[in-house]
């Protein structure tokens, strides 16, 4: 079966989810990852949505936002943001997935300001729950495009600290934290190590055991295709 870059990224992120875990889920790829994991290898995982929803079943329709009715339908718990955030605060959320505009060598993510925050060149939307997930989830997965201007030596503003970062899933490969520094651990099929290093703004370390990202299995792809939770775009 053929698959897209986004399919591969969703599958890679899904593999970070272990059965029974509470996963803080965002829209688009994280939601697809949750759906794949639930259907393939983590049927007892729980999805936590910051708007105030906990699900133990995958939503049955495409979501544009986590506040869509389809995300309430079949929810196990519908409550306040404050209550679901308490799951983070108490340390019960095993994994959180966030995006970002920039990431640096230490795994710090910026979703707030390009340039000095007092006089920014670009004002980005901000943390949302990103900083909370990064600070309080046991492990964080960051999903973003492998582009040189996004992978910078030092982000201009740390929205989400990298200390709990487990993996960065990019359009070109997978990076992990080793000794407090991001290291290339695998490259996606069709990509080369040099290519990924070229798409990184610092001298990216490469793991000794760097390999190829396993492509989506037939089962994963089937789960993805079966998923009603398509990446809804306006």
């Amino acid at each position: 079966m053929s698959y897209s870059e986004a399919d591969l990224m969703a599958c890679a992120a899904a593999r970070q989810i272990r059965d029974g875990e509470l996963v803080f889920v965002g829209m688009r790829l994280p939601l697809l990852a949750f759906a794949i994991a639930k259907r393939v290898h983590a049927p007892s995982a729980f999805g936590v949505f910051e708007a105030g929803i906990v699900r133990d079943e995958v939503p049955r329709a495409a979501l544009h936002t986590m506040g869509d009715g389809a995300n309430v339908a079949g929810a196990a718990w519908c409550t306040s943001l404050t209550n679901v955030m308490s799951l983070l605060g108490r340390g019960e959320v095993a994994l959180g997935m966030i995006g970002g505009a920039e990431i640096d060598r230490r795994g710090n993510v910026n979703t707030s300001y390009i340039g000095r925050w007092e006089h920014p060149t670009v004002k980005l939307p901000g943390s949302g729950g990103g900083a909370d997930i990064a600070c309080l989830a046991q492990r964080t997965v960051v999903i973003l495009a492998q582009e040189r201007h996004r992978f910078v030596e030092r982000v201009s503003y740390v929205t989400s600290p990298g200390r709990n970062l487990a993996q960065v899933v990019t359009t070109a490969g997978l990076l992990g934290m080793r000794d407090g520094e991001l290291v290339l651990e695998s490259v996606h099929p069709g990509r080369t190590v040099d290519e990924v290093r070229e798409l990184c703004g610092w001298d990216l370390r490469v793991a000794d055991d760097v390999g190829e990202t396993p492509p989506p299995t037939a089962e994963e792809l089937a789960a993805l295709r079966a998923s009603d939770v398509q990446t809804a775009e306006p």
């Binding site: 910051e50 105030g52 544009h64 936002t65 605060g89 729950g129 909370d132």
Partner: protein
């Protein structure tokens, strides 16, 4: 609501955003507002573009399905149409700030935001407790919290369902609550299920009846999100001049919500 006040709105996140009320604020020229909310799907951007806002206290401002808020960017980057102060929060710190406001706590010490630059730009205090770093979140007590609800009685009871965001915390933290309801029902229907009442009635200073008043955001059990409307706004707010046309077309030249709905579905 008066110029210069702090107004909490968009409290259920992507759902039940009080657009009808926001547009009326724009038409009335209510300005120098401080907007308080966790994330904002488009309404903050509109109020900022219309020049109503001096300060934003929020975790995220933009258009949820499309990304950046163009008016927000222009205000932050170029002071257009007027300069904007931003008090950065995360969703959790905003929730804790409202919780502290509701309970009259001087602050809440939390482990979230430790190591984040939000501590500096949001004006939080980094501290230690028993050798561990914590961040002190100060209380927020908005002048007014606006709730768009499924149903309310004329005397101020309301039922809300679906994801609740920080609606209850903000209502309890605020000095006063304004309710905009899809439906006005007899009090009996509300006291029949007092667990679904979101805020105690002594907080409520006004109840407005505004069916579809949250369009284009969704209201659970009433209507879905109008994705195309969000997308159109995003496109037409990219340039300031286009935004001004959009604002004129959808807000300034629309006398009231009835006219808005007729324009939407002629």
């Amino acid at each position: 609501m008066r110029a210069g006040e702090s107004v909490a709105l968009g409290l259920c996140l992507e759902a039940s955003i009080p657009f009808a009320l926001g547009h009326e604020l724009i038409r009335q020229g209510t300005d120098r507002l401080t907007l308080v909310g966790p994330i904002s799907d488009m309404l903050f951007d509109q109020l900022i573009g219309a020049g109503c806002v001096d300060e934003v206290v929020a975790a995220w401002v933009g258009n949820v399905s499309a990304g950046l808020g163009h008016n927000y960017r222009r205000a932050c980057e170029h002071g257009e149409p007027r300069p904007l102060r931003v008090r950065d929060h995360s969703n959790y710190s905003l929730a804790l700030a409202l919780l502290a406001g509701a309970h009259g706590l001087p602050y809440v010490p939390t482990r979230t935001l430790v190591g984040s630059d939000l501590v500096e730009s949001g004006g939080f205090e980094a501290a230690e407790f028993e050798g561990e770093p914590v961040v002190r979140v100060r209380p927020l007590r908005p002048d007014v919290a606006v709730l768009h609800v499924q149903r309310a009685s004329a005397d101020g009871l309301c039922h809300v369902w679906g994801n609740l965001g920080v609606a209850q915390e903000a209502a309890l933290a605020a000095r006063a609550v304004v309710i905009v309801a899809e439906e006005i029902v007899p009090r009996e229907e509300l006291v029949a299920d007092p667990n679904r009442v979101l805020v105690p009635p002594h907080k409520v200073v006004a109840v407005a009846h505004e069916p579809r008043g949250a369009h284009p955001s969704p209201v659970l059990g009433c209507y879905d999100r109008d994705h195309a409307h969000f997308a159109e706004y995003h496109r037409r707010s990219r340039e300031r001049a286009d935004f001004e046309h959009w604002l004129d077309e959808w807000v300034l030249s629309v006398p009231d919500r009835g006219a808005y709905l007729r324009k939407l579905e002629p």
